[in-house]
Amino acid sequence: MTKPMTTDVNATNRPAAGHRLVRRRGRQLRERFIEGLLFLAAASSVAITFAIVAILVSESLPLFKEVSLLDFLTDRQWTPLFDDAHFGIMTLIAGTATTTAVALLVAIPLGTVIAIYLSEFASHRLRETVKPILELLGAVPTVVFGYFALLVVTPLLQKIYPDLPGFNMLSAGLVMGVMIIPYVSSVSEDAMRAVPMHLREGSYAMGATRLQTAIRVVMPAAFSGLAAAYILGISRAVGETMIVAIAAGMQPNFTLNPLEPAATISAFIVQVCLGDLPHDSLGYKTIFAAGLTLMLFTLVFNILGYWLRKRFREIY
């Protein structure tokens, strides 16, 4: 087939394309249509995300005409609904940071230990029994967790520390931590179980114990998955609303002390949304600014998680 001549000869000798081999216009159109439909489905989620960001930005911009960004970031009070209005978002960020920190102090160690146990120590049967039960914990409505924090955990904590106020970030954070445990443990366990057996065998063959193998070989190998689990837990804690709204109180309070009541970003948004504020009031605009801040936080954590996963991905 070096000369084009030969090709031509072959072409003429070839029988005409049979009826069944001719392109079918109908099928082609149908394929196009389905492809378009699938594209729309994928595009809609992206479009919605961008629309949300656009609305958050456009609705909070008027606020920044009246309040300087510097005040927004440095003022130590958040009293947008008062006559003497202050717009220091750091007050709400402090509340969110404190409850999140308390929650993570519970969820990350416990979730990791549970994951190590289920992945490296538990028998197959035990694992298959415990995992679904643990995941039920994530299915409890957060409003139930909120009242559990307010009506059970806080009174218990008050027995140990009588000066604890009825609304406090400690109790909300602890219960939130319990709520997040299954998210952390489930993703961590999946990551650890994905570590190939030949790595574990290599460690055992060196005379390592199960715990040494789990901590020194399996956990580093599963690092990207563990990081993803922790980031997921952080995102859940930062965005969690009901528990903190119910149990931590809703007064903005610039403090990192978990023994005090405080409002988080999400709790403030609930509070304002439930009140009857006129739509064009400044107070109304603040919830968009708060929402934007919250979204920026989760965005940063998601990007961090994505980067960690890429950076430390193990190729087995």
């Binding site: 028998s123 030949h198 790595l199 574990r200 065998e201 290599g202 460690s203 055992y204 063959a205 060196m206 005379g207 390592a208 114990t209 040494q212 020194r216 070989v217 580093p220 190998a221 690092f223 193990e314 190729i315």
Partner: protein, 271 residues
């Protein structure tokens, strides 16, 4: 098979001149659940020499190898019967009273696929020392260097000991795994098809390394590659369907095998 085993031990004259025994399996049976994988295996492992296990896939050679460091203990439903006696202690390492971790501290293993840990080159070699609780920095450093030199890897990695082991080539990774196994001063090293994932050049360097290592330790190697067994080993056992068909001096087994089945296998007529 019992008869064969007795012959080996009763007639040392038929053996090549070798040093003392390092280990010996006696009437070893092994079950994976209901599957009878090893049937009454009695084989010696000589010190300072290489013993090769050959046979078709599924014949039980890897299963047999993994009995020596009690690897089967990691999975439920596995059962040993019989003994593997480790010398000079003269102790049955399969006995329930023996701690498998203590066994693995003295018998190390190199796997089919290089399996460096997701750590630095240095940390990989130091792993065995660390799990033994040895933390003195200078001692660990000396041992790591010795092991890397022993595995003919030192010159290639001495300037990048802190790099991730995963960045090494396949052959280097396997030599790193050998260094890791060497760092704990083992008495016996188990090689489970150590070159099956490597190219011919890397394979040659591993084989050369094994010949050097046998000056210090006993080596038991499973290989699919009969030329490899012929090249490196001093003794060879041919296993088939969980049984030892023939155990002999390597030269004899590959030139004048006693059994028809062995001859058929090594000449490629089956398997």
């Amino acid at each position: 098979m019992v008869e064969l085993a007795t012959n080996i031990f009763d007639a040392p004259g038929s053996e090549p001149a070798t040093a003392a025994l390092k280990a010996e399996s006696r009437h070893l049976n092994f079950h994976y659940g209901a599957f009878h994988a090893l049937k009454d295996i009695s084989l010696p492992v000589h010190d300072h020499s290489i013993t090769a296990l050959i046979g078709p896939s599924g014949c039980g050679k890897s299963t047999f190898l993994r009995c020596f460091n009690r690897m089967h203990d990691l999975y439920p439903g596995n059962r040993y019967q019989g003994e593997i006696v480790l010398y000079p202690d003269n102790v049955d390492i399969l006995a329930p009273s023996v701690d498998p971790i203590e066994v693995r501290m003295r018998i190390s293993m190199v796997f089919q696929k290089p399996n460096p840990f997701p750590k630095s080159i240095f940390e990989n070699v130091a792993y065995g020392l660390k799990v033994r609780g040895i933390t003195q920095r200078d001692l660990v450093e000396t041992k790591v260097e010795q092991a890397l030199r022993g595995a003919a890897l030192w010159n290639e990695v001495k300037d990048r000991l802190n790099e991730l082991a995963g960045n090494l080539s396949g052959g280097q990774q396997q030599r790193l795994c050998i260094a890791r196994a060497l760092a704990i001063d083992p008495e016996l090293i188990l090689f489970d098809e150590p070159t099956s994932a490597l190219d011919p050049i890397a394979t040659a360097s591993i084989e050369e390394l094994m010949l050097e290592l046998k000056e210090q330790v006993a080596i038991l190697i499973v290989t699919h590659n009969m030329q490899q067994a012929a090249r490196v080993s001093d003794h060879t056992a041919f296993l088939y369907m969980g049984e030892v068909i023939e155990f002999n001096d390597t030269k004899k087994l590959f030139t004048m095998p006693d059994k028809k089945q062995t001859e058929d296998y090594i000449t490629g007529r089956f398997g």
